[in-house]
């Protein structure tokens, strides 16, 4: 068995248990959103609530008011909701932080790195495990939407559109996973890696929110990775090139840092 497969099995063994409730929770949440979306009473309530809500609150939902009160929009809110983002963030930060900094901090990296395995393989295995974990969560989210819409279709709502949203959700957090991997490669303790990755993610989220609320900060919005993740836009117009290019480029740069640093550093 190749070292890469052995390392991947190791990551699966360490992370499979937390992944199950996260995926189940996300699937259930998106299924509930399809249920909520077809309740006329809910739409009426949301319409009146959103009309009364301050624009700062609407900005937090990252949704256009008009589209949000449609069934299609309510399901889209499920993909931009802090609950869904938090589920994804847990995997995007936890797996890479545990894989490199976690093993160093525990003292087990010595046992692994004393084997005939290139250091790049450790980074590659951590990356693969992170991307796979995020793919499982994004697929679970889409499965929740799919089950909800297939068994009880909502007029005018296509299930395929949410497949693209799930893909964009995965891409955004895959990028964050790469950033967390770079933080992990630079750290000696998992807590340090988690603090860096979670701090950057929270900062980026706050910047995106603040830039939408305050026009003064609007020019800074492109600096936030969450600027390139807008489910409502994906539902209406599909994934745009820039929404793939920017997270892709940031992720690639973070990977370069992760591979470069981990190859050179003392363990």
């Amino acid at each position: 068995m190749s070292a890469m497969r052995v390392l991947l099995r190791h990551h699966v063994r360490l992370h499979r248990m937390p992944l199950v409730p996260l995926a189940a929770g996300l699937a259930l949440f998106e299924w509930i959103m399809t249920f909520v979306a077809r309740q006329p009473a809910v739409s009426r309530f949301l319409t009146s609530a959103l009309n009364a809500a301050p624009p700062e609150f609407l900005a937090l939902l990252n949704q256009d008011l008009v589209s949000s009160v449609s069934a299609q929009g309510i399901i889209g809110v499920g993909y931009a909701h802090p609950f869904a983002l938090l589920m994804m963030a847990v995997v995007a930060v936890r797996v890479p932080s545990a894989a490199l900094a976690g093993e160093i901090g525990r003292g087990t990296m010595d046992l692994m790195a004393a084997r005939p395995v290139m250091r790049a393989a450790h980074v590659a295995a951590a990356l693969t495990a992170t991307l796979a974990g995020l793919a499982i969560l994004a697929a679970a989210a889409y499965a929740g939407t799919l089950v909800g819409l297939v068994f009880r279709p909502v007029e005018g709502v296509s299930t395929l559109r949410y497949g693209l949203v799930a893909l964009q959700l995965w891409l955004t957090f895959a990028c964050w996973g790469c950033v967390a991997l770079a933080a992990s490669a630079l750290s000696r303790e998992p807590g340090q890696a988690i603090a860096w990755a979670a701090g950057l993610m929270a900062g980026s989220y706050v910047l995106d929110y603040a830039a939408r609320v305050w026009t003064l900060l609007a020019p800074l919005r492109p600096l936030s990775l969450f600027r390139y993740y807008e489910p409502q836009r994906v539902v209406n117009a599909g994934i745009s090139g820039i929404d793939v290019l920017v997270p892709g480029a940031v992720g690639a740069a973070a990977l370069l840092v992760a591979f470069g640093v981990f190859w050179r550093r003392d363990l």
Partner: protein, 296 residues
């Protein structure tokens, strides 16, 4: 001699952490099939040396060549190396068996020696099925020894291998090392237990504050040190007459204890013959005494 004749070669190897120098200009060769002891007080640089040899640390100066390969250039040579860290840590939720399977799988070689090692170290299937977090320190150390040696390495780097083992298990470990050496394995053993190094190794290096103090055979090091001479006389003697030959370390009534260099021994014996000598004891220093003398 071809490079492969030395499973370990360190040339000017050094490591600094900012302003702290952990190891300076280490030049060392360990021969094929040799059992080599590495001695030094805490913080002398023993663990740093082992981690440099494995490529876990990047050297600040010099280079290490292990099994004929430059450490920094590749990783494949580590398939022939077994490593036991000084403070071995495992994954708490994994069972002993899962741990051995995982680490054996990473080595990429069949764990042919595993069953024999488990039997000799008395780690049964019931213990192996338990999560490592339930293990005692001694059991963890035994698991550490098995993971290091299960794939029959050509070179074993063992840092404090008997830490936490009871005397019976220490004996089992010494027998394992003896068997490995019969099969040509080179053993590099770092230890605080000088008696252990004296028992297992033919050659030894002593390290102090990151610098190599001495390298030599255990026998040679003991010979090079001063002998302990204990003389009993019928009546009190003039100590000044003896202090000329060595250092008088104790004297009481008619008993005098001295440390005497090998070169002074014939003259001392001749002088003692002129005194009212009743009994004479000459002892070679143990490795421990040689070690302590060098670190005083």
């Amino acid at each position: 001699m071809p490079t492969d004749a030395f499973p370990i070669r360190a040339v000017g190897l050094g490591k600094r952490y900012g302003s702290l120098t952990a190891l300076t200009d280490l030049n060392l060769e360990v021969g094929q099939g040799e059992a080599f002891g590495f001695l030094g007080p805490n913080g002398a640089g023993k663990t740093t040396t082992i981690r440099l040899l494995l490529g876990l640390l990047r050297p600040t100066t010099g280079e290490a060549v292990v099994l004929g390969k430059r450490v920094a250039r590749s990783a494949a040579w580590r398939g022939d190396v077994g490593y036991l860290p000084g403070d071995v840590k495992f994954w708490p939720r994994l069972s002993g068996e899962e741990t051995l399977d995982f680490l054996g799988g990473l080595s990429g070689r069949a764990a042919l020696a595993r069953n024999g090692l488990l039997k000799r170290l008395e780690l049964g299937p019931a213990e192996l099925a338990r999560p490592v977090r339930t293990y005692s320190d001694g059991m963890r150390q035994k698991l550490g020894i098995v993971q290091a040696l299960q794939c029959t390495p050509k070179l074993a780097l063992l840092d404090e291998p008997t830490k936490g083992l009871d005397p019976l298990m220490q004996q089992a470990f010494y027998e394992i090392v003896a068997d490995m050496r019969r099969h040509g394995t080179t053993v590099f053993l770092s230890s605080h237990v000088i008696a252990e190094v004296e028992r297992v190794c033919e050659r030894v290096a002593m390290l102090r504050a990151g610098k190599l103090v001495t390298v030599g055979t255990v026998v040679g090091l003991r010979q090079a040190e001063r002998r302990r001479v204990v003389a009993h006389f019928r009546e009190p003697v003039d100590l000044a007459a003896l202090a000329h030959f060595g250092e008088v370390v104790a004297s009481a009534e008619q008993r005098v204890e001295l440390l005497v260099g090998q070169a002074q021994m014939p003259a001392l014996v001749a002088r003692l013959g002129m005194l009212p000598l009743v009994d004479l004891l000459v002892e070679r220093p143990t490795l421990e005494e040689a070690f302590l003398e060098r670190y005083r």
